[in-house]
Amino acid sequence: MRLGGQLPQSTPDQAVMLAAVRFGRALREHGLSASVDAEHTFIRALAEIDVRERIQMYWAGHASFVHAPDEQPIFDAIFERFWEGRPLILMEGGSEHGESDARMQGSHHGGEALPQFGGEANTKAPLDGENSRGDRDIPTAEGEDGTSNQERGVLAAWSSEEILSQRENLQYQSDELLALRLLAQEIKRQAPARRSRRAHSSPAGHRFDLRATVRSSLETDGEAFRLGFSAPTLRPRRLLFLCDVSGSMERYSRVLLASLKAAVGAARRAEAFVFATRLTRLTKSLDGRDLEQALEKARAAVPDWSGGTRIGAAFADFNSTYGRRGFARGAIVLVVSDGWDRGDPKILEEEVRRLQLQSRRLVWINPRPMSVDQQPLAIGMRAAMPYIDDFVPGHDPRAVAGLAKLIGGLASDRPARKIVPTTPLEY
């Protein structure tokens, strides 16, 4: 059996290689990170399997190109087309019209009569964009729109074209937004840290370091004159943002995330999620483009944008997926929401409780604690309140500045956490 990294004895023929490269390119076009390495792996894999077997081809491609379960739908769709020899690249011009061309090309190529090894270079059909079937049956490489939005950047948050819902009659003062920027600066200056299990040699440390001692005793003919010590290293603590983006909260969250991008991007230990009724993860650490896409997705998921948030359901979503995978463990969780919850307050209470149990600290930033709509707001907020370690009124610059200090200071010691009441709340 061959285990090593030798090249396969039989190199696949030209047509197969071309097809594989084209396949990889198509996956890239649709947002998968199909690298040249992956293409190379796929080509080598093809030499080992029976390329006439669909299932073997599928899994060879899957193992080479897919790196996360959520990439699978895109892969499946492209593979389907690949296997059937339909055109793979679905730019604006992608169309089914090239189909017959691809098949004819296929048989011209050396030896392989299978359609998936056919060429599709000539298949860029005339533009018929919107009614092309291809555009609909493939999940698009998200965010063709994102690019244009991205150019507008944070300013989009200020756009007057946005349709204001009834919840948006409250304006954010420049004070509040300034406070957010200060928060970002402060986090950047003094990133929250935690002690890691890794140790580094340090004379001030308290752990005896045998390794350093032996090393240093070499210089003194085997007498251990100097004892070595080690101390734990510090690493950035994970910050987890759960941002409400329904109605008026969208602007606030958007500015917050945009200002935080620079602050937490460097540390690579931040995760952000936005929610309205459902939860969306901002994948590549607060990237501007992702932010726009995520807001777009969140918007699409909400039938009634101004109808309020189901915070409880969104948190349940988080707890049962990412939470279970340990995203909130040891993290400082910052919830940004006005607490306007249209769901069952019991659910909200339960889920906030779970969230607090998982986190190192649960902080809730509410930019509108004294809203005109006192009543509905009070219920959601009241349900969550017992479990919130730090409640920060977001409209108060001093409170936000205080939060920055708190987060920075959470490295080693932390103020007492909220103690959960024993008597159940009444709604």
């Binding site: 792996t41 080598r44 080992e48 899957h62 897919v66 890794r198 070499l218 995978r325 463990r329």
Partner: protein
């Protein structure tokens, strides 16, 4: 080392080790052995990620070398370390063996895997280690050689088969994923789960296995905080067997449910629901399943 001549050969060999592999995973494992690439396996806890490596090692008759990752793991725990107490003794005794020579070298799992002529190297729960360790591993996995400054370069004559598992508590680095073949293991369907339980617990009656697997399959459709994995199904079957049960039974099910579900809320929810009806449904489904299989 006995090799696998084909995908079905591999599936059969693992089957003899009582690891029932589906065609997708079999293809990927086969490719990993043929291409000499590490295989990154992800999946819910309890779907048999670690078992895969164990079965692969015993099917090929080579040692399994396991590196369990945890926070703060570094080169000295993963690759090599020096035997400091012995070094100190040697220093004090004034012996003349060089301190930093093979004699005082402690081989940790990665070095051990290089030294073995053939091995299956299991790097378990890589997501628990930190970024720095991942970067180090990347280097190791690309050349299968390491440099120990005092000793020299250690190179594998025959690179091991590498299985990496992750529970996705954090996303692994793209560069590492690029080096690997990737596979996501899902919960098995009823047919496969019954087959697995039968293979693992041959002393337990068919009826009980059918019924319990049907029940667990139903549970996975519910939106539980923590869906039971195959490992837990096996535990539960075992629990029933130990209690002398030959059939699924609501009261025994309720009493032993903690073997299957590990979240209080999930337990409360299932116990508060109509357990009698759920059990009856599972028994019905198991019977249908058995009949269908009988006629096939």
């Amino acid at each position: 080392m006995p090799g696998f001549s084909s995908i079905s050969d591999l599936a059969a060999a693992l089957g003899r080790e009582r690891y029932l592999i589906d065609e997708g995973l079999a293809t990927v494992v086969y490719l990993a052995t043929r291409l000499g690439k590490p295989l990154l396996v992800e999946g819910e806890p309890g779907v048999g990620k670690t078992e895969l490596a164990k079965a692969l090692a015993s099917a090929t008759g080579v040692p399994l070398i396991r590196l369990q990752c945890y926070e703060g793991i570094d080169v000295h725990q993963a690759l090599y370390d020096w035997d400091y107490p012995r070094q100190l003794l040697q220093l004090r005794a004034g012996g003349n063996t060089p301190l930093y020579s093979e004699e005082f070298l402690l081989r940790r799992p990665l070095l051990e895997a290089l030294a073995q002529p053939n091995a299956v190297l299991l790097i378990d729960e890589l997501d628990r280690a930190d970024d720095e360790f991942e970067a180090f591993l990347l280097e190791f996995l690309s050349d299968f050689q390491v440099t120990i400054p005092e000793v020299g370069v250690v190179r594998a004559q025959q690179p091991p088969i590498v299985i990496i598992t992750s529970n996705r508590t954090r996303d692994l680095h793209e560069a590492l994923k690029r080096r690997c073949l990737y596979h996501w293991i899902d919960h098995p369907d009823l047919q496969r789960e019954v087959a697995i339980a039968r293979a693992r617990l041959p002393h337990v009656g068919q009826t009980l296995v059918d019924q319990i697997c049907s029940f667990v399959q139903d549970l996975r459709w519910l939106d539980l905080y923590r869906s039971p994995g195959v490992g837990e199904t096996l535990d539960w079957v075992q629990a029933f067997h130990e209690l002398g049960q030959h059939q699924l039974d609501p009261s025994v099910a309720s009493a032993t449910l903690g073997t299957l579900l590990k979240e209080r809320d999930d337990l409360d929810r299932i116990r508060a629901g109509d357990l009698d009806a759920a059990v009856a449904r599972s028994m019905q489904r198991a019977q249908e399943f058995r009949q269908r299989n009988f006629y096939q």
